[in-house]
Every structure is written in structure tokens, then in C-alpha cells.
């Protein structure tokens, strides 16, 4: 079962992400965190069960999405964790900084819900196909 951690402080976006993934990927378990400081202990605790992917907002109070990426990528044990930035930011420099810090994807967060759902769905499909266990 695929598990996704979502780090998002906006109530509206939390609701939209939950609805979108629930519709396109009912088999995916989604767990929400409101800030970087909430999700980090969950990911870095000894023996923690890791999700398949972490979906990150960039602009959050306290630790920013970029800080979270840097923090996670500084830990070798989390090297295979897929980090996807999901943001409405248009700043190319921010996108470059996220990649430099170790993000796997930097995805535009559309306004329209149908598009929002499609973008999330394609992102999940892509990373599931790239990291799906392959039997010999």
C-alpha cells in the first residue's frame, strides 16, 4: 500500500489534496502534517515506518518546505524518500533551490480542482511507476 505524507498548513489545500487523492487513488493512504516541525520527528524517529512520498508546501510558518528538504536530505537513511514540492510559487529561483536541496519534483499547484486532481494523480502515478517493486 502506498503511503503519502503531506506537509501543508492551508486548510483549503489539505481538504483539496485529501479529496483529489481519495478520488484518483483510493488505495493510497495519506497522512497530513501542518508544519515541517510536525513531520520531521515522524520521519526521523528510530525505526519509523517511512512513507513512499512526502508532498511539501513551500511557504509554511516556521520551518519552510525548503528547510524540510535540506533537513531530510542531510540524513542518509532517508535518501530514497521521494520529496515532491507542490506549490503555487512562480519563482524559478525557488524551484532551482529546491532541486539543489534534493527535491525530486517541483510541481505547480493549479487553481482549478480538476487540474489539481490530475496533477496530483499524474505525480503519484509517475513516482509509483518509477519506484514500484519489481518481481524477478
Amino acid at each position: 500500500m502506498t503511503e503519502v505524507f503531506v506537509v501543508e498548513d492551508s486548510d483549503e489545500d489539505v481538504e483539496a489534496i485529501e479529496r483529489a487523492i481519495g478520488r484518483s487513488h483510493p488505495d493510497v493512504t495519506v497522512e497530513f502534517f501542518r508544519s515541517g516541525s510536525e513531520v520531521l520527528p515522524r520521519l526521523t524517529a528510530p525505526g519509523a515506518a517511512l512513507p513512499h512520498m512526502v508532498l511539501l508546501d513551500l511557504n509554511m510558518p516556521g520551518e519552510s518546505g525548503l528547510d524540510v528538504i535540506r533537513n531530510l536530505r542531510s540524513r542518509p537513511g532517508l535518501a530514497r524518500l521521494i520529496l515532491v514540492v507542490f506549490t503555487s510559487s512562480e519563482d524559478q529561483a525557488e524551484a532551482d533551490a529546491c532541486y539543489a536541496a534534493g527535491a525530486d519534483s517541483y510541481i505547480y499547484k493549479p487553481l482549478n480542482f480538476a487540474l489539481f486532481q490530475s496533477v496530483l494523480s499524474q505525480t503519484l502515478d509517475y513516482w509509483r511507476s518509477r519506484t514500484a517493486p519489481r518481481t524477478p
Partner: protein, 668 residues
């Protein structure tokens, strides 16, 4: 079997059809009821996917796991022992258009959710499942004997009733009902056919819903892309926005090539997996091929062939020429990993490309126009102010509006060889090329005539006549301040009037003043003349008499030590309005340290959100603060302009400000 018998069960299945939202939910709906048929021990379902492999195993009853999977495949492929009577109804699960080879629209291959009766299964392991090469035609149930030792025979299974399902545009599948010796295989076969009818209907509905959803998503993408691309006039930003909008909504990767001097250059690239993109662009073979594809495309040739997908590390590639206003301006290259049926049609990609091309071209044209405006505006203003002994001068020009029009404000300073310095300022009503042409004409007419010792009144009269003669509807407000030292100095003295500062000379500005870039009104461009070069005693502390002539221009401001800033007199009628111009005249004496500030109405009439004008109150606050701080003239013009722009926000007009200060310390 339910109380209503098989007919009731079947009725329940049909009623559930509308509630199924995904193919993965189907097995839970249709397989368990089959197990309620007399003599049926298990019901299995196989779904086929890419390369004709079984992509999903489903079951009710005996779990379809381990060695039973190859067995299921062989049952599906086995020649029938007998053929069960086909369904008598016209409801065949095989669509009339269904062919032997599937052309699915939704290859939702992969594991499905678990349930008590259906379980997850790994992806298939056999290279090519024999089950696909089924001997029985779709929709016709076949009975296959199950013999020999094994778990199934131990469970009492003696035969399998097999039915293949084909629905146009969907991955095919196979139903297998394992029965014991008591089963009526004809009835089971007919029931399987009926269940297949239900399944086919669900698949058709899901396909229709999927197509509708895809269209809805594409419509939304077009709308949002247009919104995003039209929101900016910066071509670079647009080039980044296009692939960001496209990925991953319509493609896994998108590259934007835009022509620079005829050759396409990669300007932006986005991939859902940027590490793959980075590797791709660093791969010489891929980079070379991308460049070749783009170059050929802008030349009208499509080189794309079947090898390109592999070279570009993708499952498929699409290329769309960016064409705007009849010109090819670049190429969009889309990289796809997704199933072909999830790739948008070419017409949609063309539509995206044409909108992107127009947005990029608009941005490029805007930037060219902005550059032209900047160049023209620079020609309308003096590149430097003359150095006049005894006077310090600074000017600023702030473009307040963000529209791409040249403003009509102008100023100039003429230093005559008779020791008189003329500070000129004016404002042509309106903006744009016509206004700019008139602005240039007005400034040069006034400056040239005044330099030839023509009086400002006569110079303005000539300009008035010219405007009237040309029949221009535009009028010009103008002001001229003639500075004359109370005690004339020798023309041969160092730093004499009429000698502009040479570049690099002491006291000359390091760079010529220039108009501020449109859209950045908070940092006024300025030109300065900090007074006489280092020539002690050239003129010393000296009073100047100033004669002010106004043709409908805002009255100047005088700053003097020890007293609040005060307004001079304006008056007169703008040039071009009356056959005989009417002027306002005034005269004052400036002592060392005193400053005359002349400006256009963009300064005074800057309005805040409550419609108060800058000159009502805020201007005086700023002026008195600057006077008390003994601010240098360049600081004075810059801060005054900035304060007016901040006061007026985005509504600010162009602002020209020229300050002339008499050198020396104020008289005690």
C-alpha cells in the same frame, strides 16, 4: 444465492453498475455472486495488460495465488472440452467494434485493493501469458476439464467454465468459474455471460467518464494556462510558466526552444523528475538530437522518428512548433512516459503551443517596445546638466505609469555666454509617440532659441505659433527660470558659463542622468551638476536674480534657510491654446543656500487613495524635512520624487523635478 435467486442477484448487479468508480472495484462486485451459483467452488478473474501479460488476478472462493496462477492462465488458454450454450439475450460482452487486439484507453494495470474475497497480486511474472492466446471467442463460454491431483481436484473441482471478455478500448479479461460435479455448466456459462454483460457495461461507463474527465482537465488546463501566460508580459517568465503548467498535467517533460537570431535555443525545461531531465540534457547524444529536432522544426521539417523516444529516455515524444503572428518563434518538445491513451491529442498540444507562442511573442514585443521607449525618453532629456559657477543643479525624471508610452515632460538647462542660466521645464499633454515628438520639438526649440539670447517670452511665443500652425490639438505648459548673478563675472574665468562638464572632470556626474525605467518609479533617474569645478573663488557666495516666466505651468517652490518652503507664482496659459500667448511673470532674488525647485504637475498632483493631492500637505512636509536636513540638490530631487510616487502609488504620473541652488552658505 440470494432469496430472489440468480435473477435477483443479477438485478442487484445491474443496480450497482452506476456506483462503480474504478475497474479495481469490479471484482468485489461480480465475482462473489458467482460463487453462490450451485456447484461453483470459486470464481476467478484475469485482466491483461501491456505486452499481453496478465496484469491483475482477482478471485472469490479459492484464492488465486502461487501455482494456481499459471494454472489459471492455462485454463484460460486451453481448448474447450465443450462449449456451453451461449447467452440467449442480445447482451454480449463483446462490443461489435471489439477486435482481437486491445486498444485500451485506461491501462490501469497493477495491484488492486485487498478485500476478504479479492486480494492483491504482484505484477505478472511470465514473459507472455498463454491465457491471452485464448482458443474460445469472446463472449462464448467454454468448459475445460480440470483433472489430475492438486488443490483444485482435492476441493472437488472437476471443470472450469471460461469466458473471455473484450470491450472496445479496454484491456481484455477472462472469467473462470471452477465447478464441481454437481454444477450445471450450461447455467454457469449463461450466468458468466450475464456477469460479463454487467462488467462490460461498467467498463463502458468508466471509459465514458474517463474521457469526460480528461476533456474537463484539458479544458481547465487551457483556461489556466491562458490565465497564467496572459498575466505576465515578461517573455522569460512565460517561457518558465509554459512547461510548469504542462508538467505533469499533460506530459512528464516539456522543453521550450525559442529562436535567437534564427536559431532555436533551449530556454526552459521542466520534468516531473528533474534528475532525469538533468541527465538527459547532459547526455551529448540526447542534447544533440534535441537541438537537431528543434532546428529542423523551425525550418519547417519534422525529423522526429521512432528512435527518438529511446534517445530522449522517454516512452514517446511530441513536437509542436511555436508560431505567432505568422512567424515561427520556437518549438515545444513534450516527453511522455505515460500510456499512449493518456497522451492528449495533437490538436490539444497544438492549442497549448499556439497560446504559449502568442504569450512569448507578446512578451518579446513588449520588451522591445519598452527598450524603444527608454531610448526615446533618454533622447528627450539632457544627458547632463551644464556646470555653472555659483549654482548647483540636479534633476530627476520618474516614469510613474507602467504603460508603454513615452511621457511628455521635459526639462533642460542652458548656460549662456552672457552669464545667464536658463532652467527650462515643460509638459506636453498626453503620452505616446505623437506627444514624444512634440516634446522633443518643444524642448529643442526653447533651448535653442534661449541659447541664442532670445528671451524666454519670445521663444515661447515662437513655440506657440508653431503649435498653432501645425494645428496640433496638444498644448504645452512651460516654465523658464532665468538666473542672473547680481555681479557678473568674467567670461574667461575658470568654469565660466557655457562650458558643460566634460566626462570625468571633477564635479561632473559619473554617468549621465537618465530617465527611470518604466515600472520602477521609486528610484528616480537624475542628472546633476554639483556646481563649479574645483575653482576656488570663481564666483564665491553671490546672489542671483531669477525671472520666472510661466505659460500655464505649475508655480515653482523656493527653499530658503530659516523659513518654511514656499510657493512662487505660476500663471499664464499653456502654449498652443491662444493665438497670442499669455504668460505669468515673477521675479525673486536667491541668496547663497537658497534653492529654486521647478517641476511638472506629476509631482504636485500625485493623488493618494483618498484623492488628496501631494501638494496639499505631504509635499510641504517632505520639502521642509529636506530643507532642515540641508539635503544636497540631488538628494532633494530624488527624495521629493520618491515621496510623490509613494504618495500616489501606482496612479503616479511622470514627474520631472529640477532644483537649482545658489552656492555658498546662507547669509547670517
Amino acid at each position: 444465492m440470494t432469496d430472489g435467486g440468480w435473477a435477483g442477484t443479477l438485478h442487484g448487479l445491474w443496480r450497482s453498475v452506476a456506483g462503480i468508480g474504478a475497474r479495481d472495484e469490479l471484482a468485489d462486485l461480480v465475482l462473489p455472486p458467482l460463487c453462490t451459483l450451485p456447484g461453483v467452488i470459486a470464481a476467478w478473474g484475469l485482466r491483461y495488460g501491456v505486452d499481453r501479460r496478465v496484469s491483475a488476478y482477482r478471485w472469490a472462493g479459492v484464492p488465486l495465488v502461487g501455482p494456481l496462477r499459471p494454472l489459471a492462465c492455462s485454463l484460460a488458454a486451453a481448448p474447450p472440452t465443450s462449449t456451453a450454450p451461449p447467452a440467449t439475450s442480445s447482451l454480449s460482452p463483446t462490443s461489435p467494434t471489439a477486435g482481437p487486439s486491445p486498444t485500451p484507453t485506461s491501462p490501469t494495470a497493477g495491484p488492486s485493493p485487498t478485500s476478504p474475497t479479492t486480494g492483491p497480486s504482484p505484477t505478472p511474472t511470465s514473459p507472455t501469458d498463454p491465457a491471452f492466446h485464448r482458443p474460445a471467442p469472446p463472449g462464448v463460454p467454454a468448459v475445460v476439464d480440470v483433472t489430475g491431483p492438486g488443490a483444485l481436484t482435492e476441493a472437488g473441482v472437476v471443470a472450469a467454465v471460461v469466458l473471455h471478455l473484450d470491450v472496445a478500448g479496454e484491456w481484455p479479461g477472462t472469467f473462470i468459474a471452477l465447478v464441481d460435479a454437481t454444477a450445471d455448466t450450461a447455467f454457469v456459462g449463461e450466468s458468466l455471460t450475464q456477469v460479463a454483460d454487467v462488467t462490460a457495461e461498467v467498463l463502458r461507463r468508466l471509459a465514458a467518464r474517463r474521457v469526460e474527465q480528461q476533456q474537463h482537465t484539458r479544458d481547465a488546463l487551457l483556461a489556466e494556462a491562458s490565465l497564467q501566460m496572459d498575466a505576465v508580459l515578461d517573455s522569460t517568465q512565460t517561457m518558465h510558466r509554459v512547461p510548469r503548467m504542462a508538467v505533469p498535467a499533460i506530459a512528464e517533460g516539456c522543453l521550450v526552444f525559442v529562436c535567437e537570431d534564427g536559431d532555436p535555443e533551449l530556454r526552459s525545461a521542466v520534468h516531473v523528475d528533474m534528475r532525469r531531465l538533468s541527465a538527459l540534457l547532459n547526455d551529448p547524444a540526447a542534447a544533440t538530437r534535441l537541438a537537431a529536432l528543434a532546428k529542423a522544426a523551425v525550418a519547417g521539417e519534422i525529423l522526429l522518428d521512432e528512435h527518438d523516444a529511446a534517445v530522449l529516455d522517454s516512452r514517446s515524444v511530441d513536437l509542436q512548433v511555436l508560431r505567432a503572428r505568422g512567424r515561427v518563434i520556437g518549438v515545444l518538445i513534450f516527453l511522455f512516459d505515460r500510456d499512449p491513451n493518456h497522451i492528449p491529442p495533437s490538436s490539444f498540444l497544438r492549442d497549448i503551443a499556439s497560446r504559449a507562442a502568442l504569450a512569448i511573442d507578446n512578451g518579446t514585443l513588449y520588451e522591445q517596445r519598452r527598450h524603444d521607449v527608454m531610448t526615446m525618453q533618454q533622447h528627450l532629456l539632457p544627458t547632463r546638466l551644464p556646470v555653472v559657477p555659483g549654482l548647483q543643479m540636479a534633476a530627476s525624471y520618474t516614469v510613474g505609469d507602467r504603460v508603454l508610452e513615452v511621457g511628455g515632460d521635459f526639462y533642460d538647462v542652458v548656460s549662456r555666454d552672457d552669464g545667464t542660466t536658463a532652467a527650462l521645464i515643460g509638459d506636453v499633454c498626453g503620452r505616446g509617440v505623437d506627444a514624444a515628438a512634440l516634446t522633443g520639438m518643444a524642448r529643442h526649440t526653447l533651448a535653442a532659441l534661449v541659447a541664442e539670447r532670445v528671451t524666454p517670452a519670445r521663444a515661447m511665443s515662437r513655440l506657440n505659433s508653431r503649435l498653432r500652425l501645425d494645428g496640433s490639438w496638444r498644448f504645452v505648459t512651460a516654465g523658464a527660470a532665468m538666473f542672473r548673478p547680481v555681479t557678473p563675472i568674467s567670461p574667461s574665468a575658470p568654469g565660466s558659463p557655457g562650458s558643460p562638464a566634460s566626462p570625468g572632470s571633477p564635479g561632473s556626474p559619473a554617468s549621465p542622468g537618465s530617465p527611470t525605467s518604466p515600472g520602477s518609479p521609486t528610484s528616480p533617474g537624475s542628472s546633476t551638476s554639483p556646481g563649479s569645478p574645483a575653482s576656488p573663488g570663481a564666483r564665491g557666495s553671490q546672489d542671483f536674480v531669477v525671472e520666472w516666466l510661466s505659460a500655464g505651468h505649475p508655480a515653482p517652490v523656493v527653499l530658503q534657510a530659516g523659513r518654511p518652503a514656499r510657493r512662487g507664482r505660476g500663471g499664464g496659459v499653456p502654449l498652443g491654446v491662444l493665438p497670442r500667448p499669455r504668460f505669468g511673470r515673477s521675479r525673486l532674488t536667491l541668496s547663497p543656500g537658497d534653492t529654486l525647485i521647478i517641476f511638472t504637475d506629476g509631482l504636485t498632483e500625485s493623488r493618494d487613495e483618498r484623492d488628496r493631492m501631494f501638494e496639499d500637505d505631504a509635499m510641504w512636509t517632505a520639502l521642509n524635512r529636506l530643507r532642515e536636513a540641508d539635503a544636497p540638490v540631488e538628494t532633494l530631487v530624488n527624495e521629493l520624487s520618491t515621496a510623490a510616487v509613494k504618495f500616489g502609488g501606482t496612479k503616479a504620473d511622470d514627474i520631472a523635478v529640477l532644483a537649482i541652488r545658489v552656492e555658498g552658505s546662507p547669509h547670517d
